[in-house]
Amino acid sequence: MPHALLIKFPGTNCDVETSRALEAAGFTAEVLPVSELAPEVLGKAQLVVFSGGFSYGDYVMSGRISQLITKHKLGDRLKQFVADGGYVLGICNGFQILTQLDLLPRGSLIHNTTGRFICRWVPLKKNSSTSPYLKLLPDNFELPVAHAEGRFVGETGDADKYVKDGHGALLYGKNVNGSSAQIAGLQDDTGRVFGLMPHPERFIGKDTHYDPDWNGAERGWGYYLFKGVAEALAA
């Protein structure tokens, strides 16, 4: 079984359901408090996960303190981990952290245009045929979002470029938070590093969909995201 390591900062709060989702997809999952984070722990993992939450309260800028602490504790080892074939997934606050860690194409996640926290389900469009995270998902599906700082912005022209070249692997099906080019998720050149604002771990079974008549697939769409990585690692 592939091993997933979920790094938990003070304020990380989606670790339990994300571990549950990873296990459902065939991973062994381990939640590691940041106090015990050290370079050598990466050795036993195939997938490193930054889950949702409000690490250190996100008072400065979402994900900023976590990025500094991760850099301080791991140096370049996380980049090396990816270069050696490792996978990294960031969900919501985890995506925010990843954008600061130089593991994804440049860009930031800032306050939604409404200035509000938004908790709702959103339509999503797949914009990558190669992403291991998305390969089991259809072109159009939906997942819940819950964030105040989910609006993707980049330097002029970057967002459109990411959509064209496939770095913008996941797009919103409608304007949710003001994201440039409706970008909901980004991947790196290898496709092994992926960050997204929506919460796949909240839609593992049909029972957590808002409509009791939903029958889009055998399981919730989020399951297929985790399963896709598990299959890629098994291959």
């Binding site: 003070p10 304020g11 709060n13 989606c14 339990v16 359901e17 549950r20 989702a21 408090p33 940041v34 106090s35 015990e36 949702g52 939450g53 409000f54 250190y56 309260g57 509000r116 926290f117 938004i118 908790c119 709702r120 389900w121 819940p144 819950a146 919460h199 771990e201 909240r202 593992i204 029972d207 957590t208 808002y210 409509d211 009791p212 008549d213």
Partner: protein
């Protein structure tokens, strides 16, 4: 920074009664003359004068907030001219109700009234608990911080329930002044406009709940002029714990360990502040009574506490709430006694006086007792989760509370006397106003227009702008969400969450009807219990496995009529709880919700929040409140009776609210719920919605807001008493009624269960209601929905 204690001795032994009262006022102790005489006696017995620390400790411990002295008082009550003595509202109507139900239903309630929250059995190894607190006074003067720490406080209640319960869902209920209140109508300086209160309170709850990762799944908001000066903010949290970890005990020799945030000058005297009325001066003088929240500190403590409990290290745990360490350590040492070491306590800033360290309500602190040899293991877990801990005290079995600050003893009191607050005697009366016929008969030109007016009323409009600000999906277990239907935006009766490691689910709901309380508090008490239970039953909870909480708020308890309304409300509530077999497992009260304005005192109406949780035994039993398919039949359970008093409709008519309240009988209602449950278990119920504010008309519209079908109903089929007018059939709010969607193939079963067919779900997305064939209401569902959805948007 001086390494000595700062405290002083306060001479009380020579003072006369009036001088004692003056001292209480000067020190803001909120203790009465009678209380102060007892305090004087304690120190006469000790043969010395008290320190300021001791007086503050006694004041916090005896405060209404901590000891619920009004609910335990002897009340001389007069009802419609007849005198009676109520020997403790709590014992007579609340505890007795629960004890009777516990005797009737063994193995359901596992504990009640003894811990931070009551526990109910979920399955063979897990229990569920729920606690609801109010944070009214702080939210009135500092809405964001008040609501923020209100939710933070109740989450700690759950962390301190049993040996540490895991918080899994939150409920938030607010009463505000109307958002469109004119600024010039505020009759006191410095009062915050209802819009400012609403925005601050919602954001306060949002920022604590979301950061803690606890889904806010359920709630309610009431708007009324009476809440302009005294908004009500109820915060509730549900928790899960292994049954084996419920029982807890402090034994001599154990260490008391404090964990979490540091101690500062924020939140001084909150317990006594909340036990007095508000004035304009409160806005200036009592700011230090409001605490400052830091949810990430609490998240760290929560992770630490749950890990320490799983490691089996915790013998007893409670939260630091009102009264701070004095209350937490005081409670933990109330049987055995012990020594407290204030100088061990890490401070936010130097220079706190001894009493400030001991009673500060700085947030995010928990106190637990452990066996001394487990300290290194506990420290390792605290380090792992980055929570600061220190040894606050040691239990010694000497039955005295001895508090050390550096080399000085700043408090040395016998625990029995500290916890022996004198009992109050109070007077109350209530006269039930007679039912008056409406002065003007209600014959509107267009019933469709009336429906639109009701859908736009603040009591009914969609809460979506607020609901979307709360993360109601975190933890990934929210099965029935606050908004559902085809587009995920239609209202529900409550919420249902799954529980990790259990097949059973938990439904959560709440009910409050302050409008009823103005004229008929007894009926309000009954109706709140009914509505909460009914919502839980509607969602699929087993009616035999429902537990409820009572949270009372009222104005001035020293005003006999106001206290009389509270007595009647409590009686009504207990009556229905017994009939439904729904035990109270915890509760709370908040008094002095009145404000001295330029025009004199304004009190809130007596307000009861009944929140509850019920066990749903199988995921297949969960029923939502949104219409699912055209062609199914619409049925009603429960009859409609005349009377519009307290209804939303009555607000729009001159005098209709003066007629009687609708009548209903608990025994028949209860029997119908049990039949409904069997029907729901069989899978025959596609959807079910309770009839509440706005009656049948609004319930049908909300049913159709699912976006999946329209509605066609003939009112002649409605089970109703003959004296009902059209207004009562359409918009009356008789309790006990459920609206069902049933697939045609299950109609026989539904009828056998007492459901009466009143119409059907149609392909055309219209709401069409007729009476004997002639149309009363005909409107496109989309038109109605946009009115309902947009109501709060301009204000939030």
């Amino acid at each position: 920074m001086s390494a000595t204690a700062v405290f002083r001795t306060i001479p009380v032994r020579e003072l006369l009664a009036d001088q004692l009262l003056d001292l209480s006022k000067k020190m803001k102790l909120s203790l009465s003359k009678a209380d102060m005489l007892v305090v004087q006696q304690i120190f006469n017995d000790e043969g010395r004068d008290p320190t300021d620390v001791e007086l503050e400790v006694i004041a916090q411990t005896w405060s209404e907030h901590c000891k619920h002295r009004i609910f335990n008082a002897k009340i001389y009550h007069t009802l419609n001219g007849e005198q009676e003595v109520v020997d403790s509202l709590f014992k007579t109507y609340i505890r007795a109700t629960t004890e009777k139900i516990m005797a009737d239903k063994p193995d359901f309630v596992l504990s009640a009234f003894v811990d931070n929250a009551g526990f109910v059995k979920l399955d063979d190894d897990k229990a569920v608990c729920l606690k609801v607190e109010t944070h009214n006074h702080p939210s009135a003067i500092e809405p964001y911080a008040g609501a923020n720490t209100g939710l933070g406080g109740v989450i700690r209640d759950i962390l301190g329930a049993g040996k540490g319960s895991k918080p899994v869902a939150s409920i938030d209920v607010f009463c505000f002044g109307p958002p469109d209140t004119k600024q010039e109508d505020l009759k006191a300086k410095d009062v915050i406009h209802p819009l400012g209160i609403m925005r601050g309170v919602v954001r306060g709850v949002r920022d604590y709940g979301n950061r803690m990762g606890i889904p806010t799944v359920n709630g309610a908001i009431q708007f009324d002029d009476t809440f302009i000066y005294n908004p009500l903010v109820f915060c509730g949290t549900a928790g899960i714990i292994p049954i084996k970890d419920i029982a807890k005990e402090v034994k001599p020799g154990q260490l008391l360990i404090a964990a979490g945030g540091r101690t500062g000058k924020d939140g001084l005297k909150g317990a006594t502040f909340s036990s007095a009325e508000l004035t304009t001066d409160s806005h200036e003088e009592d700011q230090t009574a409001v605490q400052i929240g830091n949810p990430i500190e609490e998240k760290k403590v929560a992770d630490f506490v749950l890990a320490a409990r799983e490691a089996g290290l915790i013998e007893f745990i409670t939260d630091c709430g009102a009264g701070g360490f004095s209350s937490a350590a005081g409670e933990m040492l109330s049987e055995v006694g012990g020594e407290v070491y204030l100088h061990h306590c890490p401070l936010k800033e130097p220079g706190l006086e001894s009493w400030q360290v001991f009673i500060s309500e700085s947030q995010e602190r928990m106190v637990m007792s452990i066996e001394e040899h487990n300290l290194p293991a506990l420290q390792a877990i605290a380090d792992k989760w980055q929570s600061e801990i220190f040894v606050l005290a040691k239990a010694d079995g000497n039955k005295r509370l001895r508090v050390f600050h550096y080399d000085s003893i700043v408090c040395d009191l016998p625990v029995d006397k500290l916890h022996g607050a004198p009992r109050r005697e109070m007077r109350a009366h209530w006269r039930q106003p007679a039912a008056l016929a409406p002065k003007v008969a209600v014959r509107p030109e267009s019933w469709t227009q009336v429906l639109k007016t009701l859908l736009a009323d603040f009591a009914i409009v969609s809460r979506e702008p607020i609901i979307r600000e709360y993360d109601h999906e975190v933890q990934g277990n929210t099965v029935l969400k606050p908004l559902a239907g085809a587009a995920g935006d239609a209202p529900q009766d409550g919420s249902v969450i799954k529980v990790d490691g259990s097949k059973q689910l938990v439904a959560l709901a709440c009910a409050l009807l302050p409008e009823w309380g103005k004229n008929d508090p007894h009926a309000m008490g009954r109706a709140c219990v009914d509505e909460c239970v009914r919502q839980l039953v509607a969602m699929g909870a087993n009616p035999q496995r429902i537990a409820i909480l009572d949270n009372f708020c009222m104005g001035n308890p020293d005003a006999e009529k106001e206290l009389g309304a509270l007595v009647e409300c409590t009686k009504g509530m207990a009556e229905s709880a017994i009939a439904y077999g729904a035990p109270f497992v915890s509760g709370k009260d908040s008094f002095y919700n009145y404000f001295i304005t330029e025009d004199g005192p304004v009190s809130i109406p007596v307000t009861l929040l009944v929140s509850g949780f019920g066990i749903i035994e199988d995921a297949k039993h969960v029923v939502g409140a949104s219409l699912r398919r055209a062609g199914s039949k619409l049925c009603l359970i429960g009859g409609t009776t005349a009377g519009l008093r307290g209804s939303v409709f009555a607000k729009y008519t001159k005098g209709a609210g003066l007629d009687g309240a609708p009548t209903w009988k608990e025994a028949a209602t209860w029997a119908s719920y049990e039949k409904y449950h069997e029907l729901a278990k069989s899978g025959a119920v596609l959807a079910c919605h309770d009839l509440s504010e706005g009656g049948l008309g609004v319930a049908l519209a909300e049913f159709a807001f699912s976006g999946k079908a329209g509605v066609k109903v003939e009112l002649e089929n409605l089970p109703a008493t003959k004296d009902c007018t059209v207004a009562e059939l359409l918009f009356g709010e008789t309790p006990g009624r459920l609206l069902l969607e049933v697939a045609p193939e299950h109609l026989t079963a539904a009828k056998a269960a007492g459901a009466v067919v009143i119409g059907e779900a149609t392909n055309e997305k219209y709401l069409n209601i007729t009476l004997r064939g002639s149309t009363l209401i005909d409107a496109a569902v989309s038109d109605l929905k946009s009115i309902w959805q947009g109501g709060l948007v301009p204000y939030y």
